[in-house]
Structure formats: C-alpha cells, structure tokens
C-alpha cells in the first residue's frame, strides 16, 4: 500500500476514534483505559515478524522475542483485567 492510502486510513480512524470514545460512558473510563492498553499491544504483529526470522540476525530475533513477551503480558493482562472489571458492573436487582 502506498503512503497516501495508509495516511487516509489513519486520518479516518482518528475521526472514528474521536466519536467512538466520546460515546463511552464515564463510568467505564477505567475499563476503557485497560482495553485500549490491550488492543494497542497489536504491536505484537511487528514483534512476531522479527521473532519469526531465522537466527541470521540474532539481535533482531531476540528483540522480537522479548517484544512478543512484553506485548503478550499486555494482551492477556489487559483483556483479563478488563473482563474482571466489567463483570463487576451490575444493575439494580428488581
């Protein structure tokens, strides 16, 4: 993909993000931060590419593997803690 297409996606996604985040209820701002944390670890994609290479460039491979570990902590931790918080929000029993 050329730079302009990517830039277009980025700019449009910023607008989507703007409107979606304003629609989040303030009561759920802490889970919002936890889940954005988890999804920003999609950076694991980059770490996986580096980790998938052969040992010809060991430094890059190691950096990739450590990156995979860090991002996995975030992905599993972020989604799990969000799930734990969201499970606590209950409506009044009637």
């Amino acid at each position: 993909m050329d730079f302009i297409s990517i830039l277009s996606i980025f700019v449009l996604a910023c607008f989507v993000g703007y409107y979606v985040v304003w629609s989040v209820t303030p009561a759920l701002h802490t889970p919002l931060m936890a889940v954005t944390n988890a999804i920003s670890s999609v950076i694991i994609v980059g770490a996986l590419i580096a980790a998938a290479t052969t040992w010809d460039t060991p430094a890059a491979k190691w950096l990739g593997l450590v990156g995979v570990v860090l991002a996995s902590v975030n992905i599993f931790g972020g989604f799990a803690v969000t799930e734990r918080m969201l499970a606590m929000y209950k409506k009044k029993e009637r």
């Binding site: 985040v21 931060m33 980059g46 991002a71 409506k91």
Partner: protein
Amino acid sequence: MNFSPSVIPAKAGIQNDKRSALWRWIPAFAGMTMLAATPANAATDQAAGTPAWALIAYLASGVLFILALRGLSSPASSRRGNRFGMVGMLIAVVTTLVTHDIASLPEIAGAIAIGGTVGFIIARRIAMTDMPQLVAAFHSLVGMAAVLVAAAAFLNPGAFGIAEGGVINPVSRVEMGLGSAIGAITFSGSVIAFLKLSGKMSGAPIILPLRHFINLGTIAVILGLCGYFTIDQSPWVFWTITALAFVVGFLLIIPIGGADMPVVVSMLNSYSGWAAAAMGFTLSNTAMIITGALVGSSGAILSYIMCRAMNRSFISVIAGGFGADDSSGGAAAKTDRPWKAGSADDAAFMMSNAENVIIIPGYGMAVAQAQHALREMSDILKEQGVNVKYAIHPVAGRMPGHMNVLLAEANVPYDEVFELEDINSDFAQADVAFIIGANDVVNPAAKTDKSSPIYGMPVFDVDKAKTIFFIKRSMGGVGYAGVDNDVFYMDQTMMLLSDAKKMCEEIVKSLQH
C-alpha cells in the same frame, strides 16, 4: 486453517440489544474474510507482498477493535465488546503467523506463553485500588515493545519488507524513528508514573532549573535527527533518537505532581497509541494503524476530560509543578475557625430519618478500602426507605472512572451512581450529603475565591444540602490541591474525624440498633 472466529461473536450477539443488527453483521463479515483465508491463498509468495486476504483480515481486526470500544458505551454491552477485542487480536496474530515464514514456532509459542501467563496472573491478583499503577505499568510495556519492534526493524529491515539491498526506505526511516521515540517516551514516562502512583517514589513534583528549555530542546533534537535519518541511516542516528527519547520521557513526568497523575496516565495511554500507529505505518499494517488512532484519540479525549474537570489547561498540567508551592497564605489564617464534630450515632440517626442521601466518595475511600462498608451502610438505609445515590466527580480517584470501578467491586448497582452534571441539581433536595474521602471536589472556593488554585473547577454544590457529614482523618490535612475547605466550618456540617472504613462500620452498627 481450521478455526472460524465468526462463531464466537455470533454467539455473543444473540443477547438482545437494540443495535444488534449491526453488531451481528460486522462479526459475520469478519468471519467471512477469515473463511476466505484458505491455505491455498495463504501460500502466496512472500516476495509478492502481503496477500489480499491478509490485508482484509487485518482490516477486520481493526473493525473489531472499534467495536470493542463501542461496546463500552453501556455496561450492558461492554463485555461483548471486550470479546470482540479478543477476537480481533486473535485474527491479527494468526494472520501474521500464517503469512510469514516462521523459522521455528517453539520460541514464539514460548514467548507468548510466558508473557500470557504473567499477564493473566497479574490481572487476576491485582487489587482494584491499584488499577492506576497497573495501567501505567502496562503502558510502559507497550512503549518498550514499540522500541523493540522499531529496533528489530532497523537491524533486520529485509524481514519487514522496508528495504531494498540493505537501504531502508527514507519514509520508513522517519516512521521507525518516530515510533521508537514515542515508544521510548511512553516507556520511561510510564515507569515514573507507575512509581509515583504506587508510592514507591514521592508524588511531589521534582523541579529542575531550565526544564522547559531542556525538554523542548531535546524534543527538537529528536525531531531533527528523525529528519537527518532520511539521508543517513547510520546506527548512531537511530540509537541517539531512542536514547534521547528515554531521557525526555523521564524529564517530562518527574515535574508533574501526584494530583495530576490521572491526566498523565491518560496522556501516556494516548502516546502508546501513537507509537503503535507509527509502527503500523512502518509495516503498512491497517490493524495497527486503526488501533493506534483509536487508542491515541481515546487517551487524548480522557486527558481533555480530566483537564476540563480541574479547569486547567493541558499545557499547564504537562508543564508540571502543580502543588509544589504551598501558596494560599489565607488558608493558614483560617484554620482556627470553629467546627462541629459529629459521631457515628449522629450520622446514623440523621440519615435514617432522611429522605434523600447523596454519597460523595473520593480517593480517601479507596485508600481506606471503605467501599464495602459504605455499601453495607447504604443497603441498610435503603431498607429503611431512604433514597441513596452516589455522586462521582470526573477527577475523583487516581484515574478516570476509578471510583466507579471501586463501587462496582463493592456491588453498588451502576444505576445508583451519577456523574457531576447529572446529580448536581439534586443537592438542593438532599437531606444529607455524605462526603467520604473527597475534599477538593466539594470545595466552594472553586466557585467563589478567585485566588484559589482550584478556582473555576466544577464542584458539587454540597452546601445546598440540609446536613453535611464529612468523613476525614483529621482536621489538619488538606486536599491534594492544598487548600482549606469552607465546608468544614458551615453550620450544617458535622465532621466525622476517623478512618473512613471504621466510621462506616460504626454507622452500620448504630443503624442496626
């Protein structure tokens, strides 16, 4: 490929929801794209670029992340949203693994297993009170991961498809440099925020001379080097950018006081998003770009909401130093004014005879872990026919929405909890305002005293309530902003000087007699 992610969200979509038509349709679309991901297509030659189905799969995972945030518009749809996020992540990871030649899977599987186990255990064990520092710690990991990916891409550009014959594309170099710099700032900034929030480092701002000059100068050097990087891809340029960015992240956060940490955490949240987006540009990966933009705007909006709730400009928060100078000499003179002490029995009596009680929790409640005792108290009051509501200020606690999570943890139904704008007009009809561990957010000086550091901040109109109970550890301490509060000395105020948890338990006991 033998999995169909469409099954999971489709199941979740069965729960009735007004907007369910859209909710069901999009995961189905995501599922279809994955079904198109047949092994035959997957075998597309690496050199020919990423196969079309993979591009669509990344796009689908980006859309699922949008839905994950959209779900948070209401607690009812939030858990399904979270599951969309998980599916999106799974699609992104699997697509990456399938489209790249993997030298050996065991290392990668091991890395995911180690990280996943650690993350999962932390998520299980963490106390809800410690959520702000956990989020800060997680941000630092995203930042570090971004630096590592940028460094790996620099060392092995061929694997990322951004180089021809060892020469990295100039545009990719800028993206890589920026991604690494933002990641490094996020990392060191988040580490400081974590240390301050967890009390491992003093929350007091550390003011260096000429700090604005140093910070802006260093940022200018980083940007200049990113530009220079396009004409010279020597390793020193990349490593200097990264090293300077680590230093800037550290310098940016140390002058910011503990009271401003909610803004800092939101801001770092935003940075971690921009770092992911920058790496997304390097890899031409739509999932990363969409996510980065979402997270980036999310953090920016949260910072804006926090700043507005404190009536401070974003720049003044970032410039730091708030709470460093113990100003307001008037406050010292005022502290000798008379005030009334109340007891748990007084509070129990007044509240059981009240019609409307509004509870205002603050960070003090979290510190004392009083939320469970408080809920028990309000349960008894409700049984006695008292109308109990909770009022939460946007900056209560140490991160946006922190109080709501703590009350939810104590089983307070979320429809009894109200935001500032929604409840402020109710104080005129309230018989009792019960303030527990909050201070600045009920300070009328924010409305009347132009010299006050918190002037202009929206506050609860507790002075309109017939009776005010103010739980506070002692008369000596002041709120985070370090200003005296006129509410202490008002005729209708009774100070309950005690630990918040102990006081609530005593009130419960007294109510039961």
